[in-house]
Symmetry: none
Subunit: 407 residues, 2 copies
Amino acid sequence: MNLDPVYAKLTEPNDQTLCLLVMDGVGDIAVEATGWKTPLEAARTPNLDALARKSALGRMIPVAPGITPGSGPGHLGLFGYDPLEFEVGRGVIEALGLGMELKPGDVCARANFCTLDEKTGLVTDRRAGRVATEITEQQCALLASRIKKIGDVQVLIQAGKGHRFVVVFRGKGLEGPLTDSDPGKEGAPIAAAKPAGKSAGQKKTAKVVAEFYKQALPLLKGRKPANGFLLRGIAHQPDIPTIEQRYGLNAACIAVYPMYKGLAQLVGMTKIEGPQDIAAQIEAARKAKGRFNYVFIHFKYTDMYGEDGNFPKKVEAVEQLDAALPALLRVGFDVLAVTGDHSTPCPMKGHSWHPQPVLLHSACSGSDGLDRFTEKCANSGSLGIFEAKYLIRLMQAHAKKFAKFGA
Amino acid sequence: MNLDPVYAKLTEPNDQTLCLLVMDGVGDIAVEATGWKTPLEAARTPNLDALARKSALGRMIPVAPGITPGSGPGHLGLFGYDPLEFEVGRGVIEALGLGMELKPGDVCARANFCTLDEKTGLVTDRRAGRVATEITEQQCALLASRIKKIGDVQVLIQAGKGHRFVVVFRGKGLEGPLTDSDPGKEGAPIAAAKPAGKSAGQKKTAKVVAEFYKQALPLLKGRKPANGFLLRGIAHQPDIPTIEQRYGLNAACIAVYPMYKGLAQLVGMTKIEGPQDIAAQIEAARKAKGRFNYVFIHFKYTDMYGEDGNFPKKVEAVEQLDAALPALLRVGFDVLAVTGDHSTPCPMKGHSWHPQPVLLHSACSGSDGLDRFTEKCANSGSLGIFEAKYLIRLMQAHAKKFAKFGA
C-alpha cells in the first residue's frame, strides 16, 4: 500500500529543522578477520556513543530483503522515495552530478572512453586504460564541437573524471531506457543501444544514439588509447515530485561528490557548493539552517574504504566523522538522523543488502538505553528494522510535522 | 507489492550452493512449567551455538501476524512462495507425498477411514480407532478395484499410513476446493463436500464426490471398525512455477516423511529417496551437492514432540539434530539456513503463529555476536523479524546470486 497520500494529508508545516547525515555505506559485517568487529564497533567514537545514548536506534532495509542498492536507489530511499517506484538511470545521476542543468525529458547516458581494436572493432579495454581526465576533456571538446545536433535533437557532452563522460540528448519525443551499448566485457563489439520497451520515444532515441555513434566514432579514429566509447544507463529524467512538493520541506544538499549532488538536485534540493570536507560541510549546514528546514550532509569516505576493503581506513573515516559531530550538534537541528544509504562491508568490497544502522535524535526520540551507534546495538533499537523510505516520515514525525490521524 | 519480478530481473546464476535445514516446528514459547525455557534453550547444543556465534539471526513470520500455518503454507513460505498467493490443498500434498504422479487439474482429497454407527450413520470415531495400515491397504484395494471411473472422471485411490489414504479425481473440467466431508467431530453425519466457490468445475467435482460416496459406502458396509471414510482438503493441483523457474535453482529434497517430499515435488524439487534419519540425510546432502545447488533437508521430530507436548523429547530431538550438524557443516554449502517452518510450542501441542527462529550462515553473514540459536537470541539478530517468504531471497543474496539494483 502506498502511504504517500496518507502522509501528505497529515503534513503540517512548522519551524522545526531536520538534518540527515549520511555516512555512505557505513553498515558492515563482523567477520573473523577483523576480530568479529565491524568498523563502527572497532572505531573510537565518543561523540556518536554519547548521541546514541540519548537517541532511538534501528536498522533500515535499503530497498527490499536481499537487494543491494546502487547509490541512486540508496539515496532516493533516504529521501523517502520508494526506489522500486522511482527508478533513475545512472546517466541522469551522472549528468546532474557533473552540474548539467537537465530539462524534463532529457535522455542521459553515462559514457566512458574505451579502446577498440583498429581492425576488428572489438572492445579491447572497456575503460581505455583509465585514460587521464585531460584526454577525456580534450576528446569531449572535440566531439561537442563537431556534433551539436542530430536531426532536431540537441547533443550535450560533458567530461567527467578519468575515462568518464556524459552525453545528454535533448529534443521532443525522446524517451528511455535503452539497453547499454557497453557489451560488459572485452573482446566483444560495441552493442547497439536498443529500446528497452516498445514506445515510439524509445525507438526515436535508439535511432539518435545510433546516428551519434555513426558520427562520433570516425572523429576518434586513430586516437590512442581512447578510440571508442561505451554508453550505459541510457534513460530520461523521470518526473519526480520534489521534496518541497512531497513533504513541504525546503531542502539543501551539502555533498562533496557529484553523484550525490545530482541525486539531491533530482528531488529538488538546493546544492550548496564549496565545502570539501566534513568540517566545512557542517559549517555550511550551520549557515544553511536559517534558510532551509531539511539539510542533507553526505560523507563519502566510509563507502570508499568499504569498497576498497580497507578496514583500518574505514575505521578512521568513522572516527573522522565522529570528531566532526559536536560541531553539527551545536548547530541545533531539531531532528538529526545519522545513517548510511546502504552497507558497504569491507569483506565484500562493495555495496550490500545488509540493513544499515540508523540513529534518530530529537526532543522526542527518547533513549533506547543503548551505548553505541553500532550494527549490534541498532539490532535492539526501538526503531526496529524498517524500510529506508520511512526514515523521512519518522523525521517528519519527530519534528511534529504530522497531524494526528483520526480522532 | 509483489517483488518477485524485481528479484527475477536481478537473478544471476553462479556456482554457489544453498542448504535449507528445516527443524520442523522448532520454535517454542518459554513458560513457567518448563522453567521459563524453550526446548532450544534447554537443549545442550554446542554445535548450533558455535554456528550461531558466526551467523546472522532473526525470526520469521510464517504467513502473517497471528496466523498459524499448516505444513503446506509453512514450507511454501520457506521456499519463497507467498502462502497467501499459492494455496495448496492438503489432499494434493498427501497425494504427492505418497508418490502419486499428479497431472495439472487433478483434484485430490486427503481421506481417512472412520467408524459409522450402523443404524444412524453418525460418525462415532473419525479415525476408525487408528486402524492398521494393512486394513487400510486392503480396503483401498477393494474400493480401487470396484470404482475406477465416475462418468468421465477417473478415480485413483492410494493407501497411506494407518487410517489415511488419498483419493484423486482425474478428468476434464474438475476444480477445487470443496468443503470437507469430515464433520470435524464425532456424533455428526458425514458432511456433503460442497463447492467452496461458484465455478462450474467446483460444482462438477462436488457431484463426482457425492457419487463416489454413493458407490463406496455400500462396499464398506459391515466392516469393522472402518465402515466409512472422511475427505478433507479437496482441491486441485495449483499451477505453481518451479524453484528452477523462479530462482534458477536446481533443487533437491531430502525428507523422510511423505508430506514434505510432496511439498518439495510440488515446486519442482527432485526427491532423494532412501535416508531414514538425519545422519543419512546429511550424507545424502553431501552426495547431492555436486548435482544440486539448493538442498532442502527436513527434520520432523521437533514438530512431532511439540505436537505431543513432550518437552523432554523435543529437547532430545534438538540435541539429536545438533549432534548431526558438524557433518552438514563439513559438506560446505556456501549458504546454510537453519530454521523451522513454524513454531510448535509444547504447551500448545500444536502449530502456532509465533515467529520461528532462523539462522543464516555464509561468508557474508557476519556475526550478530549472539551466543546461541534460541528464540531470545534470535530476537536481537540482524535479520529482525521478517516474513518467511523472504528467506530464500536472503539466501540468494548471501550466495551473491543477485545483481545490484540501480546505479
